[in-house]
Each structure stands twice: as C-alpha cells, then as structure tokens.
C-alpha cells in the first residue's frame, strides 16, 4: 500500500522537480544572466497567470474533464475590465469583484452544459473558446484600453520589499495552498480522484459527481478571470486578443506535471513544478540566444514527453514490481 502511494504520488513529481533543478543549475553555470534575481522576477511574472489557471485546471483534468475556454475567459475578462473602466468604474476592488463574477458565470455556463446536459467537456469548451473570444471582440473590437492609473499597473508587479519577486506571487501561493488542501486533504478531493477513476463507482459510493464538477468549472472561470485582471494590469493593456493560445500553455504544464489526461491521477506539486520548469527553461534558452522556432519545438516535444513519460514510467514500475514479487515468492517458496 505504502509502496503504491509512493509510486503514484512520488515518482513523476520527483522527475519534474529534478528536471527543474537541473535546468536551474545548468542555466546558472552556463548561461550569462540566468538564475539572477532579475531573471526570477521575469520568470515569476510569466508564471503567475499560467499558475493561477493551472490550479483549477488540475482539478478539472483529474475529474476526467477538460476546459479549453480558459484563455478566452481571460481575454473576455480583460476586455470587460477595460470597458468598465472606460465607462467610469474607477474602484479597483469593484472591478475585480465584477470580473471574478463574470468569470464565474462563464465557468458556470461550461459547467451547466457539461453536467446539466451531459455533453463532453472537450466539445463544450472548444465551443466556448470561440464564443468567449468572439464576445471579447464584440466588447472592444480592435480597440485597446490602456489608460489605467500607474499605481494600478506598477502595483500589480511591485516587488516584495528587499527582493525582486513580484508580491502577486504570494496570492498564487495562498491559492495554491487552498487548492492543495481541497484536493489532497478533504473528502471533496478524494471524490475528485474517485470520479476521475470511475464516475459510476464514485456516484454509487455517494460522491456528488455532477455538483462537484459544476463547481470546479465555476472555480476555473473565476480563476481565469483573476488571471485576466492580472494580465490587464501587468501589460497595462486590455485587448480582445489578450492571452490567445494560453490554454495550451496551461494544459501542457498540467500534463507535464503528471496529471493523467484520462483523469484520476496527478497532484498539485508536480503541476506547480512543471509550470516553473517550463517558464525557467524557456527564459534560460531565450537568454542563451535560442531562436523562437526552436523554442516552440522544444515546448512541443516536452508536451509529448509529458503524455508518454508518466505512462512509460508506470509501465516500467509495474514490470519491476511484478518481477520483484515473483522473485520474492520464489524465494519464500524455496525457503
């Protein structure tokens, strides 16, 4: 039993973390400017929106569903933020609250189609990916809203005193702990794994599959909206094309983090490690003058590795375990 827990939770997380450490060490030793305080500032700025969305996405994928509309929710939130500001909503807390509400509603639409009508989440969220992005263009068209107060835009990326690290990473940290507790230390979390492994069995053992999935979609919408607000302030620019393609970066990080695309397997440690790994690798390679096209090829290959890797690792482990148990039975028979 313990052996099992270790192999399921431990090993791929370890691979990801070792990979991260290797990238950092090799980068620091060979690439000028890598792993400096400034480098970490830029890496973390890049990581924040991806990590914010990867947290709920991990839950979504563990339940066996997927949400591809997240980047469009982010884009639509950005344009809504910009439009409301242009209309004269000048209170940041009010804008934040309205954006989170909007994100939750957009997530609820996804959740309703998936759990209420029983449609496959892949199809539903490919639909809303296009729909929400389209709505973003309806809101702002080709315009950009960019005249926010400087204290908002610099405030979003202000460093923690004495460091170069933007304070917003603390928000990500707190939310990561909340999501970690829910997933790894509550009955809800156990239910999430159960429904990812076998939805019928989970339902018969009293897990409310539909309700849980619905609220996870709502949370994903709200977190994407939070990422949208951060995006708008960080780039000081609300535009309809903000964050286009970000869903792939998020899904790539979640899968590389060891979450099974078929559900039921994975955890937040690996996912956060993978988010950090991808961003550190990209920034290090960029500093090493690796051209953009090569970077895309490397990210793509990593995604393949992330899908194939854990399965191969599991198969190898399974074979080793079997061989070991056969040897031990022969031994005991002999003894």
């Amino acid at each position: 039993m313990r052996e099992r827990t270790r192999s399921v939770l431990g090993s791929w997380d370890t691979v990801v973390l070792v990979g991260l450490v290797l990238v950092i060490l090799i980068g620091a030793a060979t690439v000028d400017g890598a792993a400096t305080p400034r480098f970490w500032r830029f890496v973390i700025l890049e990581v924040i929106p991806i990590a914010l969305i990867a947290l709920p996405m991990t839950l979504v994928i563990i339940t066996g569903e997927i949400d591809l509309s997240v980047a469009s929710v982010l884009g639509l939130t950005c344009t809504a933020f910009g439009q409301m500001w242009a209309w004269g909503v000048t209170s940041l807390p009010a804008l934040l609250a309205l954006c989170l509400l909007l994100g939750a509603v957009l997530g609820a639409v996804n959740g309703l189609f998936v759990t209420g009508f029983g449609l496959p989440s892949l199809a539903v969220t490919i639909g809303t990916l296009a729909l929400y992005r389209g709505l973003a263009y309806v809101v702002l068209g080709d315009r950009a809203v960019a005249n926010y107060p400087p204290q908002w835009t610099t405030g979003a990326i202000r460093p923690i005193p004495g460091t170069t690290i933007p304070w917003t990473v603390l928000v990500v940290g707190v939310l990561a702990i909340v999501f970690g507790i829910v997933l790894h230390a509550t009955p809800i979390g156990r239910g999430i794994y159960a429904m990812g492994n076998n939805a019928d069995a989970a339902r018969f053992s009293g897990v409310s599959v539909r309700r849980t999935k619905f609220w996870i979609f709502v949370a994903t919408g709200a977190m994407s909206a939070l990422a949208g607000v951060f995006w708008t302030l960080r780039f000081a620019s609300a535009r309809a094309d903000n964050g286009t393609g970000l869903e792939l970066a998020v899904v790539a990080a979640v899968l590389l983090g060891g979450v099974s695309i078929f559900g039921g397997r994975g955890g937040l440690v690996g996912v956060l490690g993978a988010v950090a790994l991808l961003a550190t690798l990209r920034n290090t390679l960029q500093l090493a003058y690796v051209p953009a096209n090569t970077l895309t090829i490397i990210t793509g290959s990593l995604l393949i590795v992330s899908v194939v890797g854990p399965n191969v690792a599991a198969a190898v482990r399974e074979r080793l375990r079997r061989r070991r148990s056969t040897t031990s039975t022969t031994e005991s028979a002999a003894g």
Binding site: T14, T36, A144, S237, G245, R282
Partner: protein
Amino acid sequence: MRAGTRSVRAVVLAALAALTLATTACTDEGTTGGGAAPSAGATTIKEGLKITFLPKQVNNPYFDTSDNKGGKVAVEEFKGVYAQTGPSDTGASAQVSYINTLSQQQVDVIVVSANDKDAICGALNEARQGGAKVVTYDSDTNPSCRDLFINQATAEGIAKSQIKLISEAIGPDGGEIAILSATANATNQNAWIEMMKTELAKPENAKLKLVATVYGDDNDQKSFAEAQGLLAKYPNLKGIISPTTVGVAAAARYLSGSSYKGKVQLTGLGTPNQMRAYVKDGTVKAFALWNPADLGYLAAYAAGALASGIITGKEGDKFKAGKLGEFTVGANATVLLGDPFAFNAGNIDQFNF
C-alpha cells in the same frame, strides 16, 4: 519505502541549495554592466555597441530586409555587435519576454517594432532603467517608453500617396473603393486608414467612395479570401488599397487570375520582388513603399548615435547616417526617413528586395 522518502528529501534539499546558490552567487551581478555610458558631446559612434533588433515577428521577409539587409550593414559599418531576436507569432504581449531577456543580456540599444504600443511599455521602461536605450522603428510605442522613433513615412505622406495612386489608376470618373488591411490592432495600419479617410473627404477626391475596410491579418490565404470576398460583395468596386505587403501581394494574385484583372485597380504598400510579376502583367499600375533596408539602416545609425551620446532625442539634434546622409530629430523624438516611393513598370527593375 524509506529509500523513497530519503530520495524525495534529497531532491528538495538540492532544489533549495540550487536556489540559494543561484540567488547569492548572482546578487552582485545585477549592479554591474549597463554598457557603454554615453559621453556628452561625442561626435563619432563608439565601437563595440551591442545593438539588437526586435521585429514584430522573425522569419518575416519585410523585417528580414529591414534588419538583416539594413540594420546589420549599418551596425557593421560602425563596428558594433548586431543581433536579431523576436517571437514567431504576433501576439500582443509576445515581445515582452524578449525585451526582458535583452535587458538581462545588457544590450546597449533595443531597436523594436511594437506589436502593441501599450503592452510592451513596462518592459521597455524596465530595460531603460537597466541602462539600455530604446529605439522604435516601423511601429511606435507610447512616446514615454522609448528614446527615439524612426518613422518610415508620415501617416499623411502614406495616405496621400495611396489615394493619389488609386485615383490615378481608376481615372477621373472615380467609383467605389475598399481597403484590405493587416490586423485590426496594428497601430500604423489604423493611423494610415484614418488619414486616408481624411484625404478622401477632400473635394478633389469626392468621386472616390470608401465602401469597406477588411482585415487579412497579414496572412496570405486570409488576405486572398478577403480580396475575393470584397469583389463578390461589391460588384461595382473600382479599386482596392492594401497598405500591407502581404495583403497587396495576395490581392494581386487573386486579381491577376480573375476576370477583374485590369478592370478593378489595385495599389498599396508592397515590395518590388513580390509585385514585379503583377506590375508587368498589368494587374497593378503602381504601388508605393519606403525601402525597408534604408529604414533598418537609419534605425541602426540612430541607435549608435544615441548610445554614443551624439544625440539625446531632443528636437533639432543632428546625426550622420552613413550613406543616407544627415538627419535631424523632429518633434516627439521622431526621425523621418522620407516620402514613400512609387514603383511602376518603368522603374521596378532597378530594385531588388
């Protein structure tokens, strides 16, 4: 299983050690560098300046010409270190991480064409605080985020030449015209379109009627389809203006293979190599452009002059740009390359880019 816990702990420890190492070993690095400090009143460009071009997109023929055939030549003339880097997609914020990288690489000047005039502002200012100079070319940012803008042509100059070319091609009777632009967000495209509308409002252009503006996203197939769509939707269309190299070539390709060839006029901003066949087969009578190689060349000299302290970006500052001669900094820290040049069947063979 004990071995397992131990190995996990070892990994965590290694990670922590690496982080501490990395941060402590490099804390003092942040303060050094900053490149060559400009000395006041210098007259020659310093040697060894690191000048990096950051186009909207790499592997784009227009920027390959401006950067590698213009900027590079100039940087080599004054013995600097030339490089080109950039994203492979034109997303609004894709350039930010490249700017961050350049500021860490301690380049002396970043020469950038902005995909989004606001989104890259913060990153550029952070790079400037780190000691880099910022020159924009082709597409400007907010003036507060750069030291100098090299303008290939004024919006007014371009708009005037485009309307003049389409008006001459259609003839005195006028008629309906349409614009095939690049992306709906492109700063320069939108400025030109606005000026074209101003130009069309003048009495001498009263017979030209703008009926549609469509966007081909600087994508060949999309531009081709948009050109096709325009002619299907507006049967009385007399002319198309496409102020983007991708759009005008795609529209020319469509027209030259259709029954509209020679009946529906086309002009725009294009490159001689892409447009040569269509000028010779009569699809296009004339089109305009600046020389992108000259633009990159001028941007590089301006970058060198700025980093050497010859100019500061103040109005009236003068500097020499190699074979192009002397230039003067205008209002809003802008340097103008010149008027757009019209290419036609008579002169197109003198150009090869």
